[in-house]
């Protein structure tokens, strides 16, 4: 992450050893502030331009396919095995104080409140974030984005807004599938491998699960979806310097949007807990 941010700050020709640390700290602070400022401007423009017609429904659906449908297989496989591992691990722990019957509860709560949205977010950041940054970055270095501007079309409205809307809509949908498959993975291990009673397992799974847990997870997912699209599109728009620049933008998009998912997850969890 630091590499991505510090790389945006011009290095002076000569910096003495004594000044290296303060220079590095200053560079990182400036880099973070610059990135946050840039994203804030893009977010403001996206909201301002997103609420006025034309709404470009076809573009939004196309992006929903890229962000959602194409990411689905990876999300489902990850969720399945995460649910299975979670059941195994919690069974190992709980068996030490004879609380194996709580495995279903722990799997369900962990997947729905935390792992479902976060893993879906991270996978989308890796897959769709990279794709968004590479596509828009290539458009930038081949002057296609300049061409849009010269034709009086806002790149934010035309390219960024559909991706953000697709992210906000599709991440919760992906998360619902991840939740279901993750819980099913836990059930498979718990009941089929560890011989838990299916009726007890299912009742323990849903007894302690509240609607608020599910809704909270989906709200997180919606925020992650918007952030991934925003960060990745911004990286694409700010690409410089040919193929190498597109590579840098793609890496930056994955790193920064993954960080955005993890950091915002903490603050969202804190806000929901309070």
């Amino acid at each position: 992450m630091w590499g991505v941010i510090v790389a945006t700050v011009d290095a002076p020709a000569q910096v003495s050893w004594a000044l290296r640390l303060p220079y590095w700290v200053g560079s990182v602070v400036l880099g973070v502030l610059r990135e946050v400022g840039r994203l804030s401007i893009y977010l403001y423009q996206s909201i301002r331009l997103g609420v006025v017609p034309p709404y470009r429904i076809r573009d939004i659906f196309r992006q929903m396919e890229v962000l959602g449908v194409n990411t689905m297989p990876v999300v489902l496989i990850t969720a399945l095995f995460t649910g299975m591992v979670l059941a195994l691990q919690s069974h190992t722990g709980f068996s030490r104080f004879s609380a194996e019957s709580l495995v279903g509860t722990v799997v369900a709560l962990s997947v729905v409140r935390e792992l479902g949205p976060v893993l879906t977010g991270l996978i989308t950041a890796g897959r769709a974030g990279a794709s968004i940054a590479a596509e828009l970055g290539t458009m930038k270095v081949t002057e296609q984005i300049d061409a849009l501007v010269t034709m009086g079309v806002s790149p934010v409205k035309y390219l960024m807004v559909p991706r953000i809307i697709a992210g906000v809509v599709m991440l919760p949908i992906l998360t619902v599938f991840a939740d279901v498959v993750g819980i099913a993975g836990g059930y498979l291990v718990g009941v089929e491998m560890l011989d838990a009673n299916p009726t007890v397992y299912i009742s323990r799974t849903f007894d302690f699960l509240e609607v608020a847990d599910v809704v909270g997870g989906l709200i997180k997912a919606a925020v992650f979806g918007g952030l991934i699209a925003l960060v990745s599109a911004a990286q694409g728009f700010n690409t410089r310097g040919g193929a190498e620049g597109v590579g840098r933008a793609t890496t930056g998009a994955v790193v920064l949007s993954s960080m955005a998912v993890l950091i915002s997850n903490y603050f969202l969890t804190m806000a929901m807990a309070s």
Partner: protein, 248 residues
Amino acid sequence: MITLDHLQKGFGGRQVLKGVDLQVKRGETLVIIGGSGSGKSVLMKHVIGLLFADSGQVRIDGDDLAQLKEPELTRTRRRFGMVFQNAALFDSMNVWQNVGFALMQHTKKRKKAVLEIAQHYLEMVGLPDVLYRMPSELSGGMRKRVGLARAIATSPEILLYDEPTTGLDPVTSDVINRLIRSLQEQLGITSLMITHDMVSAYHVADRMAMLYQGKIIETGTPEQIRATDNPYVRQFISGSSDGPIEAG
């Protein structure tokens, strides 16, 4: 029509434009010549508001671009058509969608009508049979011609050409030059071209200006430029490595 008033622009401490003064009159074709790295592309990006000057003004019919609000700036940009160096065609769209893109965005014309307009302009640039081809299936010269058709499809008042013959073989370059000249004669559009291709410059220019180290050092008709005493201009138009200009 276009007035550049003491335009200055720098990037990261390097001054690229050091006070450019220039006027493009309505209906004329002004060609700015200059070597690689002389600031030609930066200058052109200022004219259409893709970049904004550190000081000085770009005025279109008296309106300072830097003072325009976003909707006015967008309206002003739509008075232009721009032909990019590498055509900058949208690679996710086929040829007719590229040519008709601005019309689809800004008018209520139906798909069939836009298709017919695209066909008309593609015929004008000598490419009647490429409507459904993707940009990746076109040669460099064809891409430039599609770029030209896209630029004129909105009937602009001003056309900007960014090195329209760079990277093309001499025969294809001549096709493009003749096309630009015939479009000017047919449509009477005010045009600003930047190039370092002197054959192209002489072919299309009503007036020429030379940009060197961020300043306009000479302006005149093609004949005046040919007969100039300015050693920098003489070296550049003769294409010699002997003289005061250092290779970029």
